[in-house]
Symmetry: C4
Amino acid sequence: VPARYHQIAETSPERLAALSDGIFAVAMTLLVLDLRVPAASVLHVQHPVWAAGALQSEHAVLHVLAGLAPHLLTYLMSFLTLGIFWTGQQTQLNTFTRNDRNITWIQLLFLLTVTFIPFSTALLSEYITYRAALVAYWLNLLLPGAALYLSVQYAARAKLIKDESAAEMRSVTVRRIVGYQVLYAISLLFCVVSTYLSITLIVLVQLNAAIQPPIRPLDRF
Amino acid sequence: VPARYHQIAETSPERLAALSDGIFAVAMTLLVLDLRVPAASVLHVQHPVWAAGALQSEHAVLHVLAGLAPHLLTYLMSFLTLGIFWTGQQTQLNTFTRNDRNITWIQLLFLLTVTFIPFSTALLSEYITYRAALVAYWLNLLLPGAALYLSVQYAARAKLIKDESAAEMRSVTVRRIVGYQVLYAISLLFCVVSTYLSITLIVLVQLNAAIQPPIRPLDRF
Amino acid sequence: VPARYHQIAETSPERLAALSDGIFAVAMTLLVLDLRVPAASVLHVQHPVWAAGALQSEHAVLHVLAGLAPHLLTYLMSFLTLGIFWTGQQTQLNTFTRNDRNITWIQLLFLLTVTFIPFSTALLSEYITYRAALVAYWLNLLLPGAALYLSVQYAARAKLIKDESAAEMRSVTVRRIVGYQVLYAISLLFCVVSTYLSITLIVLVQLNAAIQPPIRPLDRF
Amino acid sequence: VPARYHQIAETSPERLAALSDGIFAVAMTLLVLDLRVPAASVLHVQHPVWAAGALQSEHAVLHVLAGLAPHLLTYLMSFLTLGIFWTGQQTQLNTFTRNDRNITWIQLLFLLTVTFIPFSTALLSEYITYRAALVAYWLNLLLPGAALYLSVQYAARAKLIKDESAAEMRSVTVRRIVGYQVLYAISLLFCVVSTYLSITLIVLVQLNAAIQPPIRPLDRF
């Protein structure tokens, strides 16, 4: 019987990590492309009177920068999102002793959802007061979480995780993913009051995930 | 006799892998740049009546998002394409014990065709109903496959592959590449009926390549 | 007592380095996107008379290129900035024996400020005579420096640095960061005379940091 | 005497290679961004009559693609350029046993010139018949070569190269760089006849560098 391709196909955890680091690096840097610098000519059209004196021009530049504030808010939230998913994926990959084809494709699915983050960030910063844009952004928090959940469950079942850490890894990761996704979903619900309130709550949940303050109950997950 | 440059030029498989991972990471993330967020001002111009009430505005945003659907379809297909070629290249590079100048340039040729994928994706998503765009996209499935075919044939002849795996690697890889290219070509032919039908068939073939369901005859290659 | 996520979360110095290299690579290459090539059609509109003869057209192209000069100046300064912060971060990471969650997030904070450099560069090259744009750029010199300062202080306190080099590393790094930040701040003050003077001084300080000429007092830091 | 920063600053050859691979990967992929897909709406404006029938529309798409031909030519030349400099740098870095601050900055200078290649490519493809654009492109062949020349000369003098290969490496590399730069300069001179002739000659020289056919005198360098 001749060999089948999937029996000899090998994928290496190192190259999966390298591809992931590349995708996160590009996504993190592309976020900032959304902060477009208005052309100097626009400045003079928008502020013809101000352009008269030097000091007024300076104020005009500050005014233009202030107009970028909502973009900055979504930028910071998305950088936090990418950082959280990067460290989350890393914690998983570190415990895998080997890769198989399925885990590679589950991880590629995770990376697919990560590449969408610059898009959903740009969408939200353009339509920051619209609930439809916020729901689209929230889906981009839910889907990478779901992919990581799928990944840890599959890896435990397929015995890809180092034996001593498998059971603990699985339960801790699952609890963390489910816990934060519930908090994101609750934050989303507050958009019936205001999308800014929802965004603020999501950022606070994310800051907790990043900083993990040693205070109960903030260190639960 | 003085040494010649090509006698001392060494290329390392690790750096070829790093360059490849970088190119795939950038290409995967650039794909999403094609999903441009329409400016909020456009929304109000296109839907002056809807903009009257909050709920209608939400519908307008959803309407704008729905307009991105063909872009999303080609995005997913191209991510699959990049994932398949990334794992395919990886399977080859893993079996190489060393690099020589020729294999480096064959692999650079492969990477050249990979860098075109964001372009042919953008072309197809802009002209999704045009056969000329689909043929251009199909060429971008054929050429990386041809480069990988050339690579494995050269590597086997130049004894760059680990001895124990050389013969098997060659025959299995060649069979897989030829098999999938035939399926892509057959899928393309259905564009005389509809380009959407062709694209659907290509995506199904690719999903089979990715998931490799353990069902006959789907696991043949 | 069940384990907490942050007790098993591991981050690897290698992956932090890989993410950093990716971000610096993308940022360095994106800088050049700010050097937009004017469309050939613009040339003929701007220089209808010149377009008459071949030699005059050549002059028109040179004229267009000359218009990119302020962009080139800020490009070179930003490449220097990125090079200095890349080598600075590298010197730190090389002395760390392990990572913990906090240092990972401090370093992500550093990378966040690095991703802003293409934006503040584009801002400055568009508004090169405006002090507000220069202050924004200077903040982008101050913040990565502050993050690296925070990183070395935390790493020394949390015993992440190899024992033999901890004390020396800390004092030398702190002195260097503070020294250069003072020089940047002094350079900034000269913008009351001219923003070009400030930029020239910053570039000279940076060239000193890069070349480190073995001449007193230029080799102090 | 307290330690100076430059005495403890360490840079690692691995991270320099990783940064370089990232920059080359981004530059290679960015080249293709210059191949912009014209919007479908443009098609109908440009070819209102053709848009009447389906077959004519297909011809219109092909016509649009044909308009991208000069971009494709410069794209291929630039990919060759990047591939040649990537393998050239790799051959050097492979022979270095360690890095010092100076070689890091010489290599950063090399990478600075590499990041310009997407710009000079876009310039040339927009102004392909202009000698000024070709001279700018040629400078982008000269400067990376000069940086690699500087790098190998400094590395040999500072004893960064493995002993057994130092002398040979130096003479072979220097001969190759000088030889190809002379050929590029000669090719450039033919732009007094036609810029297309110059570009064709440069591509032929580069193909020789890449393929290195085992035929005299083509294998001289």
